[in-house]
């Protein structure tokens, strides 16, 4: 009896990991499509040739200096935001949690805008400063959010948390509008495209700025998968199962906020990836975090990469920011989830 149960569990695990593998393959496929698409058309063969070092100078320039960093940023930002959403949804047990919807992305963005409006020089240093600044903004906003959503005797009610988050986000956006008015046209342009969630300007510096953070945060979250499983059962059960709930929860929230902040620093204001990614992943592989975490990250990366590619193809020669494409898919999904949520 128990052996059949174990066998069926192993089977399910194997199936989940197979799905994770398929997601990874899909990312590679979209990666190649994305390398091909753009104003200057390159055939798949050209791309493969260039990758192995046999491309022309022009092909190399387009692929390695323009498209590749942009694609890598899309995947990393999508994965990071989806992970952040996955943690937040697990811990708050609130299906509508997403760093964008909760206003955390806006807080990170505000710091970037503040920095751009006060920093005048064009040296290279600031790009590496951006993640740090965005982190500060993200943490400050998350703190404010929790303080405003917490009510004695009731704790943090899911819908109140989301509403307060939306309010804080829109307040910060307004503050940004006020700040951006006095910017010079070039600065204004930068802030505007960046806010819309456009990865157009991505270059290798952005990639290098974000990689170290992800190298620390992602393994940490993976290590904590078991804790997330326990925490997502709810306060009482988690304590009963011996989790140091408050400490673990605090650290994981910090990780989620940090992930969101870092991703916003290079990707701009992108909402809804953190919402849809984990939900789709949960549908595919179930809610065991050991598989759910990599699946969420891959789904998020795939989503944002696809959105960026669609945005690039939809209107040529300019492009539609990925943030807009994601919102057009994500907002209806939010509504769908909301109608299924129970009251309170």
């Amino acid at each position: 009896m128990t052996s059949t149960a174990i066998r069926s569990r192993n089977k399910r695990d194997a199936k989940s990991w197979l799905i994770v593998g398929i997601l990874a393959v899909l990312i590679v496929v979209v990666f190649i499509i994305s390398m091909n698409s753009g104003v200057i058309h390159l055939s798949p063969l050209d791309v493969i040739k260039s990758v192995f070092g046999h491309g022309t100078a022009q092909q190399n320039l387009i692929l390695f200096e323009f498209r590749l960093p942009r694609i890598l940023i899309s995947i990393m930002v999508g994965a990071g935001l989806a992970l952040s959403g996955c943690i937040l949804q697990g811990i708050t047990r609130n299906p509508l949690s997403d760093p964008g919807i909760l206003g955390i992305n806006a807080g990170a963005g505000l710091m970037v805008v503040l920095f751009v409006s006060f920093y005048q020089s064009n040296t290279a240093a600031p790009i590496f400063l951006l993640p740090v600044l965005a982190l500060i903004g993200a943490f400050a906003t998350a703190g404010l959010l929790l303080a405003m959503a917490y009510k004695r005797g009731e704790g943090v009610v899911p819908s109140r948390l989301v509403l307060v988050g939306i309010a804080i986000g829109s307040g910060i956006s307004s503050a940004m509008i006020v700040l951006t008015i006095k910017l010079s046209p070039e600065q204004y342009q930068f802030v505007q495209t960046w806010l819309a969630g456009s990865i157009v300007g991505a270059n290798w510096k952005y990639v290098i700025a974000v990689v170290p953070w992800l190298c620390v945060l992602v393994p940490y979250v993976l290590l904590k998968a078991r804790t997330l499983n326990v925490l997502s059962l709810g306060e009482q059960l988690a304590t009963g199962l011996g989790a140091r709930t408050n400490r673990d929860r605090g650290l994981l929230v910090l990780a989620a906020v940090a992930l969101a902040g870092v991703c916003v620093a290079v990707g701009g204001g992108i909402s809804f990836v953190g919402l849809i990614g984990p939900h789709l992943a949960r549908r595919l592989v179930g809610s065991k975090h050991q598989v759910l975490i990599p699946a969420s990250a891959l789904t998020g990366g795939l989503l944002l990469l696809a959105a960026d590619t669609i945005g690039r193809v939809a209107i040529q020669p300019s492009s539609m920011p990925a943030g807009i494409v994601v919102a057009i898919i994500g907002a209806p999904y939010f509504l769908y989830l909301m109608t299924r949520m129970k009251k309170g």
């Binding site: 509403l163 307040g171 307004s174 008015i181 539609m320 919102a327 129970k342």
Partner: protein, 350 residues
């Protein structure tokens, strides 16, 4: 308990509801005086400061050869009149919505009505360029209706029924969706410039021509709201109570909704989406004058005008000589107020 009894027992408190007509009178009168002062300040301030005497002359002894008179007549006056009109319109529509739906978080900006109007405008600019302003107002009205139907439809499709917080959530998502599509259209058809005013939300570009088309809509909206104010008060006590008092609730709700769409739709066509006026002002009015909509509605109209005209003055002062959209200033005031309302709401309501 029979119907008659229940009607009686609830009719009693209606007459005893907290109401302060005297305070309301003072607010309306004082508010109008303050509004006149704000008008004068608003007309004299700007990139070029103009003396009060010149303002007076421009209005009453207009001399077309003087540049300052031209600035006042063609730029400053329409702007301030527009601010007063749409401020009153947004506040009144918020008051109607809050009363009829008993939803403390109701506001045309937050519940997708403004976004629907903006979406319709984006479609018009992209596919039917060269529409007259009057046609735009009409399309904006239709878009506003579409936005409202979406939000209320999704809100009522929700498991466990419609709650104020649910509606606000649905509103936020619909706003995000419609704005994203509008932005996408703007980028695809390169109409960002025409739509920029709409994203920002401000009265800077107001023209007399727009005002000529708009004021009848807004006037009908506000007068209509006053006419059904008694019924709105009854509805604000609950549908059952209102029905018991002999109100045809369905009919009144439809009339009220049409008035809201007229007020919000025409305002958005002229100045873009300005949220939070319709949220804050009715709450303050209710706090000051009690629960009778006969007084809440006119007070909201006057205070809404005043808020937008003053916010527009502030918008010009923040980074002179640049213009900040007035909507941003109002949001910065409105957001803390919204958070306060959510914190105050009981867990069951959310």
């Amino acid at each position: 308990m029979s119907m008659g009894e229940s009607a009686n027992s609830t009719a009693q408190p209606v007459t005893q509801l907290r109401s302060r007509p005297k305070v309301a009178g003072i607010i309306i009168f004082g508010g109008l005086i303050a509004l006149v002062l704000a008008f004068i300040v608003s007309v004299s301030l700007g990139a070029a400061n103009i003396k009060f005497l010149t303002v007076w002359e421009a209005v009453f002894r207009f001399n077309p050869d003087l540049t300052q008179h031209q600035i006042i007549r063609e730029l400053r006056l329409p702007r301030v009149v527009m601010g007063g009109l749409v401020g009153a319109a947004f506040a009144t529509s918020g008051a109607i919505m809050q009363g009829m739906t008993r939803n403390p978080l109701a506001d045309p900006g937050l519940l997708g009505i403004n976004a629907g109007a903006g979406f319709a405008l984006a479609l018009c600019f992209a596919f039917f360029p060269g529409m007259s302003f009057n046609q735009l107002v009409f399309m904006s009205f239709l878009g506003a209706a579409g936005g409202a139907i979406l939000v209320f439809g999704i809100g009522s499709a929700t498991r466990g029924g419609m709650s104020p917080a649910r509606l606000a959530l649905a509103g936020a998502a619909v706003v995000a969706l419609l704005n994203a599509i509008s932005e996408g259209i703007a980028l695809r058809y390169r109409i960002g410039q025409e739509l920029a005013f709409w994203y920002a939300g401000g009265v800077a570009g107001a023209k007399w021509g727009q005002l000529a088309y708009m004021w009848p809509w807004i006037a009908i909206g506000i007068v209509g709201a006053l006419v059904i104010s008694r019924q709105i008060t009854m509805l604000s006590l609950g549908d059952d109570v209102a029905a018991g008092l002999g109100i045809r609730t369905g009919l009144i709700k439809i009339i009220g909704m049409v008035l809201v769409l007229m007020l919000a739709g025409s305002s958005v066509a002229a100045v873009g989406s300005i949220s939070f006026i319709g949220l804050i002002v009715p709450h303050i009015s209710r706090y000051l004058v009690g629960v009778h909509y006969r007084w809440i509605i006119p007070c909201s109209a006057v205070l809404g005008s005043l808020l937008l005209v003053v916010a527009d003055i502030g918008a010009r002062m923040v980074h002179r000589p640049y213009e900040t959209p007035a909507a941003a200033i109002i949001s910065i005031i409105g957001v803390p107020f919204f958070v306060f309302l959510i914190r105050r709401a009981k867990k069951e309501v959310i």
